[in-house]
Symmetry: C2
Subunit: 214 residues, 2 copies
Amino acid sequence: MNSKEPRPHTGRRRNEAARRAILDAALGLLADADGAPVSVETIARAAGVGKQTLYRWWPSKGAVLLDALTDRAAQDVPVPDTGSLRRDLRALATATFRASQRPPAAPALRTLVREAARDPHLADLLRTFTESRRADLRRILQRGRDRGELPADRDVELLIDQFYGFFWYRFLLGHGPLDTPTAERITDSLLGWAGAAEGPQESSTAATASISTS
Amino acid sequence: MNSKEPRPHTGRRRNEAARRAILDAALGLLADADGAPVSVETIARAAGVGKQTLYRWWPSKGAVLLDALTDRAAQDVPVPDTGSLRRDLRALATATFRASQRPPAAPALRTLVREAARDPHLADLLRTFTESRRADLRRILQRGRDRGELPADRDVELLIDQFYGFFWYRFLLGHGPLDTPTAERITDSLLGWAGAAEGPQESSTAATASISTS
DNA sequence: TAGTTACCGAGACCGGTAGTCTCGTCAAGA
DNA sequence: TCTTGACGAGACTACCGGTCTCGGTAACTA
């Protein structure tokens, strides 16, 4: 028949409180146990919920964890558009580093990556997440190139991977700082530490002397 | 008593064939199942060996995997010392990228990192491995700085993390090339793309002129 | 040759996990 | 009141890392 007609919903509705309880419990556990894996049993128990309720709404444990994390940390890193490439990049770096450092994001994200290492489902989700961040940075760089702030022959993909590679490397290994001075230094390193402050720095030789101060 | 005297070895000796069989089986499984986890059972079965034999000689599964990988890929990336920073860095990048791409290293290393994400023991081993690579690069950069090829105010640790961060990011995500042109581009990007090919590109440091000829 | 020692393959076993399935219950609409 | 589907609870399967035990066997010693 015309089963196209979506049969009106009957029966008990989804319990929104349970959804929130699951996400909250997941985020809390992600944040607490730094590095230690978070089990489904633990999440369900902490949320006061049956495992089946969890699997009814999410396809895997990884999906729950990612959902719990992005649920809050979504808009922590806005994409700047100030009209200056260097300022945009510096702002993005600063916001990214800062968001990655303050709890509960830091331990949660670390645990999430560890889980992704053995959960292909979660790995996929995480890949699309990072790809969207890469796309944000790509837009920033291309705007800058259109304005002539970036030489046309610089490899944008290379720059993107240098930035996020640096970030993830330091974030996951945790052997070096990810603070505001670092954000400025990585910006200068990517765009050319010569002529850092402002103005086109061409004529490679000339500008160097003036700025290397800061 | 003088138990200091090491009692001469008695009893059956270690079976070298079993050792090799285990390492070969481990490497083969690491290489075959890209990303898929490798279980101890599988290794033991493939090597025709009891699990206990494996645990008699290695403290954990991760140790076996790392041993299997470094057993062969040890000296694939020699540390260059040509007298030119740019040439050294380019050589290191090229060798690193090349070694990471050719089988069986590539899938095996990827699997190894995934295993390390949930095996703290293996994570430690892998950390010391990467730290030694970082130390190699640090020496190269410091030699270059001593020769005046690198401005004294450039952050060496930042450069190291930019390089290896970029490498691991591309290697693990696999979304961009790690070939020879990329090795040259990342070198130029780190050392300054201006005046990349030849000639001194800045006036600030006098020494630069004399050596960068390559 | 006989005895001792320690490695060998095999596999049972333990604790823990992801995901499935079933049960009796409960809320929302017809 | 009856149907539907979500709910909490937890048993269950399948798998894995790591431990333990077993009978057998190679290498060395007396």
